[in-house]
Amino acid sequence: MTHLITTKLILYYRIVSFKVTAFLLRMAGSARETAQDRFHGFRQAGSGKIAPVVPQPESQFIHRFDNGLVLLGESMPWLDSVGLALAVPAGSAFDPEDRAGLASLTTEMVLRGAGSRDSRQFLEDLENLGIIWSEAVSRLHIVLTATMRASQLSEALPIFADVLLRPRLPREELEPARQGLIQEIRADRDLPEVKLRRELRRRCFPYPWNRPTQGEEETVAAIEWEDVRDFVDQHFRPDGSIIAVAGRFDWDETKALVERLFRDWTGVAPSPLPWRWERERVKHVPYDSQQTHIGVAYKSVPYDHPDYFLARASLGVLSGGTSARLFMEVREKRGLCYTVQATYHVIKNMAAVFCYSGTTAERAQETLDVLLGEISRLKEGVQSEELERVKVQIKSSLVFEQESSASRARSLIGDWVLLGRVRPVTELKQSIDALTVHAVNRFLAENPPDDFTIVTLGPHALEVPREVL
């Protein structure tokens, strides 16, 4: 439903930028990229010597209802808006193997009318209320996110409650929804960078976490209406679902409203499918393009690991800004590419860093060599100035997040899913302040980037040096 805004639109605006920004990245990613991956991927941010004004005091709320539904809240009284995020444990990791794409198709279907509203009424009511919203399918959850004026929360919640509790799943809408999804899958084939990231993910995470959330054309074609109905029946359950509210709102009133709307909801969602490795560490995908697209992945520590911030800081040194190593060495010193970056991807207890660059075919080998060289060089340690810059960046990003109720609501959900609790902003700030060169370098010496997965996409295969495998 958010397909109106895609990378293609950037193109004909022809507003061409100095570098790819986090914002553009978000646009450039598939609309289906997970909110959760995205959240932890890039908190670009914050500060060394001067302490940034992380607003105080922060008041966070957590409530678990009897049926298992969790409500999270964070008060941001300086805003006039409120951000709402609802996550149900119905992500693509639950898709049956021969029905991959079921979570995505289910998302399309539950948004085609719920409760007393048909599809048109549903969309028009949200628009009339001036609610800005979007949906996303992650590996674990279907997530609905909305931003609105504070006074609108009590009107928005019942509409979204209908989507989770009383989706109409109109049978006659299955075909149009399926056609829309298949067209999206086809459109992504025309985007080499999206295709590359997909091929990389397929090889560096275990099944079923390695699959594209949209599924494949054949598996989407095989889905029947009963599959969607059963999926909703099994996965749209309170135990495992999370609702997060951030911004200007009254906790007690919100809690009472959520209780009233969701108290008759019962049941526990099933667990994801068991893991299975389909490891293929080096792969070239032939593609008719001017550029060769290069993806290198290495394993990292998950978000709930005690060393997470050390890993996060190392990633910042590698790719946290324009003074970071990848941008400097690959683009600034050698002019090999326009885009080069590394992003953090996490699933429940496994994480990886994806490095990407796109470059003219003739210069692709040099780009791969420099990229691998820089990643490997990390184990030799980082300099204190590099770490200071990363700390400033992360800390300012924490402040910027305080200006957006929706992104804060998504963060609350991300924390809950990956940590089982909510990490207060002050704690985040303290963890960043506490980072030392010594600790980061010890971490890198003990956990040097290795176990690489390397995928290239373009007219010619590249040579992958044996020693990195």
Binding site: M1, H3, L4, I5, T6, K8, L9, L11, Y12, Y13, R14, I15, V16, S17, F18, K19, G46, S47, G48, I50, P52, V53, W78, D80, S81, S119, L123, L126, E127, N128, G130, I131, I132, M148, P176, G180, Q183, R186, A187, R189, D190, L191, Q290, T322, S323, E332, R334, G335, L336, Y338, T339, G358, E388, R389, K395, S396, V399, F400, E403, S404
Partner: protein, 410 residues
């Protein structure tokens, strides 16, 4: 939020929309220079120059600039379009002075020959990157055909040939002509101390060349018709249509925005029901771009090749119906609610307000507070919107199509 403006003796204007309780400050240097100002033989120079801005000035090197921006945790970038180049940064308020100094440094680049040759490679990579992405450059060929000799038909990126042939001397001469004080507006939003800002502007921008440099303005004389291009390796079929729209200086521009929203933006629009809800396309939109002397409505559609002809017919019908029957009161009221809410919500972030006020000031010389914008939204009538729909027929357009379907023109 309070608005302030100050013009330096050399003609550079400094504006600020201050919200003292904001957590951040957004700063932008809005320069009246873009693809439309380029002589043909140096096509792409504005965008290349924007890249060179980050390569240093005076004693600062490219490494210094990258490092210093990162040291203050700035979210920063620059972008070039047909009529403007914008350099911007969002920072914590205590870093405003440093951010200003760095942005002011960007707009007087040294253009050193070594940096120039290295960055040329980056630009060429950027051109190739876009060539690999649909709709594969037909957006620019469509513009060129629609605008004919009008400068708004010129390419932002330039071509491999024009960029390869460009010299540092040509770029310096272009810089001297275009980056004059009168062509620059410094915009700020969020937590801003305006007196301090003016002092910074005097210190870092007071000596900028104050020459007057008029931009060529023309009434467009558009060309229409359909062209098809064959790209066998593509999966989907891509359609771009450009039609005339009110210019940025016209009172009709507000109605133009409403028309766009009702027909083709986001959910619950006419295009949504016609193409996305039934699964007939993977992407579709109508957008409105306005410049001092011209405006365009741009239609974009991407779909499976076998759906192309049917979709083109549906698009034609949708536009014909709009021109003859107009939009409904209900559609207008819904879009009003939505636009008002979006405006208020976006205003919470200084960085999103920055582009709204800076670009408006640069193009029209106007400033409107959020309250004034809300009043305008409220005042638009059904007649206003329907008059624009009739006066600027979307069905009368230049169309370019690319994809696996065979070539030909009609």
């Amino acid at each position: 939020m309070r608005f302030y403006s100050h013009i330096l003796p050399n003609g550079l204007e400094v504006i600020a929309e201050c919200s003292p309780s904001a957590f951040s400050t957004a700063l932008g240097f809005f320069v009246r220079v873009g693809a439309r100002d380029e002589p043909e033989d140096i096509s792409g120079v504005s965008h290349f120059l924007e890249h060179m801005a980050f390569k240093g000035s005076g004693s600062r090197t490219a490494d210094d600039i990258n490092r210093e921006f990162d040291e203050i945790g700035a979210v920063y970038n620059a972008m070039t379009s047909y009529d403007s180049t914008i350099y911007y940064a969002a920072v914590l308020p205590e870093y405003m002075e440093k951010a200003f100094e760095l942005l002011a440094c960007l707009i007087r680049p040294a253009i050193r020959p070594d940096d120039f040759e290295l960055e040329k490679k980056v630009i060429l990579e950027e051109i190739r990157m876009y060539l690999d992405q649909p709709p594969y450059g037909i957006d620019e060929t469509c513009r060129r055909r629609f605008f004919k000799t009008h400068p708004l038909g010129q390419s932002v990126l330039g071509t491999v040939e024009s960029i390869s042939a460009l010299t540092p001397e040509q770029m310096r001469m272009y810089y001297q002509q275009r980056y004059t004080a009168r062509n620059i507006i410094v915009g700020t939003t969020g937590c801003v101390d305006f007196d301090k800002l003016v002092a910074l502007a005097e210190r870092y921008c007071g000596d900028l060349n104050s020459e007057e440099n008029e931009r060529i303005q023309l009434r467009p004389d558009p060309a229409f018709g359909t062209f098809r291009h064959h790209k066998p390796s593509a999966t989907q079929q891509y359609v771009i249509q450009i039609a005339e729209a009110p210019p940025a200086t016209s009172p009709e521009r507000f109605a133009g925005r409403f028309l766009t929203a009702i027909v083709g933006s986001s959910t619950a629009s006419r295009m949504y029901w016609e193409f996305l809800d039934p699964g007939r396309a993977d992407s579709v939109s109508l957008t409105y771009e306005s410049y001092e002397d011209a405006g365009i409505f741009v239609t974009f559609l991407s779909c499976a090749p076998e759906m192309l002809e049917e979709n083109l017919e549906r698009l034609r019908k949708l536009y014909n119906q709009l021109e003859t029957e107009g939009v409904s009161a209900e559609e207008l009221s819904r879009v009003k609610n939505k636009m008002a809410a979006s405006l208020v919500l976006a205003a919470e972030r200084p960085s999103s307000r920055l582009f709204a006020i800076g670009s408006e000031r640069l193009t029209t010389g106007e400033y409107r507070s959020v309250e004034e914008e809300l009043k305008i939204i409220d005042s638009i009538t059904l007649d206003d919107v329907n008059r624009v729909a009739e006066k600027y027929p979307l069905s009368c357009n230049a169309t370019e199509i690319i994809g696996p379907m065979p070539q030909g023109s009609s």
